[in-house]
């Protein structure tokens, strides 16, 4: 088959490039806020007078918590688009669900890893199997890994999309459990209750956390945009291959028809 194109194209566009540049600038700003401008978490114990707190390990807050929230956003979008696909049955919903699930799984993996790294100095453990939030998050991650594995199976694309949409809708049931686990099973988790809900932080720490939410939302949006375009390209490439194969077969059939007609007349 001949190459249908004469140039290489990228999934970038003026809008996505502007978003990419703004994201990079935001990341630099977040690093300055997180590592230079904010103070470490140091408090004085009221009875012993000793310094207590998370010290500089608190700077992982500006990374771990925004990424956890983005994981919620990504998986919620994947489930919403999956429901949209089951109702509308159009590729746009399926490609959106697949892109959100893949990017969300990258974020979820990072939430687990950075949480583990943060847990070592603060809780004195890398992992706690009895912690409800850790386990529900791990289950959520594994279910979406299963979703992505299902997308790689050699099934009819429409069947695959339908099955994946059902898996996403089943997996998303775990999301409220992850979020509410610290309230519902507060004696079975090392995690504290919602930091923001009870406003335990303030001033520059709160501002930096908000900047973290915004910057990681921009990172997510940029990745989602490009991953969606990759999914759309995959569809377009598949359709082009099918159309080219049909055209080739028709040309072969026409050629053999002409040849046999020439053979009959000679």
């Amino acid at each position: 088959m001949t190459n249908p194109t004469s140039s290489v194209a990228t999934t970038g566009s003026p809008g996505s490039r502007a978003l990419g540049l703004a994201t990079l600038a935001g990341l630099v700003g977040l690093l300055v806020l997180a590592f230079v401008l904010t103070e470490p978490d140091v408090r004085i114990h009221p009875s012993t007078g000793q310094e207590i707190g998370q010290f500089d390990a608190v700077r992982l807050l500006y990374l771990h918590v925004p990424m956890a929230v983005i994981t919620y956003v990504a998986y919620s979008l994947a489930a919403f688009a999956s429901a949209g696909y089951l109702i509308k049955r159009t590729p746009w919903w399926d490609v959106t669900a697949h892109a959100a699930a893949e990017v969300g799984t990258v974020f979820c993996f990072l939430v687990l890893v950075t949480g583990s790294i943060w847990g070592r100095p603060v809780w004195n453990t890398w992992w706690e199997w009895g912690d409800v939030r850790l386990m529900t998050t791990l289950i959520l991650f594994l279910m979406f890994v299963g979703y992505l594995a299902l997308r790689r199976t050699a099934a009819d694309p429409r069947v695959q999309a339908r099955r994946a949409a059902v898996v996403a809708l089943v997996a998303i049931v775990d999301l409220p459990l992850v979020n509410r686990s610290v309230e519902w099973w507060e004696n079975r988790t090392l995690h504290q209750k919602s930091t923001l809900g009870e406003l335990k932080i303030e001033d520059l720490t709160l501002f930096t956390l908000m900047v973290g939410f915004l910057v990681f939302l921009m990172v997510f949006s940029w990745l989602l945009l490009h991953r969606f375009r990759v999914g759309w390209l995959t569809l377009a490439a598949g359709e082009h291959q099918v159309a080219a194969a049909i055209k080739e077969r028709r040309a072969e059939a026409d050629g053999s028809g002409v040849a046999s007609a020439v053979g009959e007349t000679s």
């Binding site: 140039s7 999934t11 100095p121 390209l233 082009h240």
Partner: protein, 52 residues
């Protein structure tokens, strides 16, 4: 600064993984674009045109 190793580990693994993933997505897009006709390249920006 206390806990420097943990900070570098946490922020470092996030930076590396997100960068590797972003690059892999862009490269997948570029590789796929070759097999798509130019009139079907919705949202895409052409690079290095050879026919003009």
């Amino acid at each position: 600064m206390t806990h420097l190793g943990y900070l570098l580990g946490g922020w470092g693994v996030a930076a590396v993984l997100l960068t590797v993933y972003a690059v892999s997505v862009v490269r997948r897009g570029r590789a796929l674009s070759v097999s798509v006709p130019e009139d079907k390249r919705r949202w895409l920006t052409s690079q290095n045109p050879t026919d003009d």
